[in-house]
Amino acid sequence: MATALLEVTDLACRRGGRKVFEHLSFGLAAGELLALVGRNGSGKTTLLRALALLVRPDQGSIRWQGAYVGAEPEAWRGRLAWLGHLEGLKGDLSVAENLLAAERLRGAPPAEDRLDSALVAFDLPALSSRAVRTLSAGQRRRTALARVVLAQAPLWLLDEPLNALDAPAQAAFRAVLERHLAAGGLAIAATHADLGVPCRTLELGSTAYSPPPSSGEVAEGLRGSAASHDPLRPFGAPPPQEGGGGERKT
């Protein structure tokens, strides 16, 4: 197993006095995808936000190449591409304007050819001058995903990337994600659906809601380790194409 670029150790978050998760540890190496699964409210989004330093964890550490990411937050933010449950697009700007504005906010004017290839990857060239407010939910999601690709960041943090995507768009997303991973990128995606790409799985959840431990592993709901050779859930060890194995099997 390759050495982990991203190491998360003993992470704990609470919101409004309520524990969301604790004792969460995992590592992620170049080219790896981590799928965060778990019921609604199990803390998938909170974990993504904690990784992006948007939420301050109560405990634990996040390290990138051995260095604590909180020490140089701006450098860390430069390594991230973010897709939240909101698209982060301005309705009054066109698709292309949105992508360019987002890229300039990251401090780098993008080359036109990269913009074009990001648009092509999600079948957006025909829509590129349409105002985002006139687009459908799926078209907006595709635009947001194009923004993620355009950022050229080593680590993608994706919250439900497949939301509202139709089958061709999902296939496009898979292709792009595989290319990112093949190039040595990392990705962490909170998801309810099968990502369709080989991945490791981290199950989040509270004791109260966790299913009977059929796999014999998840006795406590708040199990945090996720290792590819030690899958927590049966669908965590995927055959190459079948991937994450779909919805919960309980």
Partner: protein
């Protein structure tokens, strides 16, 4: 700095797409100031006496009126997360947002005020002074109002709350802005007033971006 100018440019472009939003604020400014002669009476020397205070108060209200969408729109469509995740200081992003707000409200208000001042019977040099004080003072209003907007982000009844937070903090700017104009009209030291007004704007510039950034981070949590 490229991120800073990109953010200012983006916000200006957004306003450009919806010029009506700025027009409404300016219309409010005009209508609100016109109410004073109607309420007080058209006596020329009374109007000239109160003109600076009235125009400054109306400019303050107009600036606040347009502020509650400053960060709320970004929060609603998720672009606030992109600002929080931009690889440069959030304090600069806060400053950029306030800067864009000043360009689309402070500048037009400063340009419009002399026109309204004519209706209050102000002398030409006083009109110029009025415009100058607004030019120097409105950045402080944008910054303080921006702080109030960031603090009330996601709060219940944020519009009224924003005014409640911002208005007491804007009092020094109001006093010296209107005071400078009056000083000129009554033979006082206009330059000294203007210098204090500029100092107030600098204090706001030095303190509010940090506070706005802190407030935005909390809104992102």
């Amino acid at each position: 700095m490229s991120g800073f100018s990109a953010l200012v440019a983006r916000d200006l472009r957004l306003v450009w797409r919806r010029p009506g939003d700025v027009a409404v604020v300016l219309a409010f400014f005009v209508v609100a100031t016109t109410l004073f002669p109607l309420g007080i009476g058209p006596e020329a020397n009374v109007l000239a006496r109160i003109a600076a205070g009235v125009l400054w108060c109306a400019a303050l209200f107009a600036a606040l009126l347009s502020l509650d969408r400053l960060f709320a729109a970004d929060l609603e469509d998720g672009t606030l997360d992109l600002l929080l995740l931009a690889p440069w200081p959030l304090e600069l992003a806060a400053l950029a947002k306030c800067c864009a707000h000043w360009i689309v409200t402070g500048l037009p208000l400063a340009a419009l005020a002399p026109v309204l001042g004519v209706a209050f019977g102000l002398e030409p040099d006083v009109l110029l002074a009025l415009s100058a004080t607004l030019l120097v003072g409105t950045p402080a209003l944008s910054l303080i109002g921006g702080l109030a907007a960031a603090l009330t982000l996601g709060a219940r009844k944020s519009g009224a709350l924003l005014a409640l937070l911002a208005l007491p903090l804007c009092v020094p700017t109001l006093i010296f802005g209107a005071g400078a104009v009056e000083a000129l009209a009554t033979g006082g030291d206009f330059g000294a007033h203007l210098a204090v007004l500029a100092a107030l704007a600098l204090v706001a510039l030095a303190t509010t971006p940090w506070a706005i950034a802190a407030a935005l981070r909390q809104a992102g949590e």
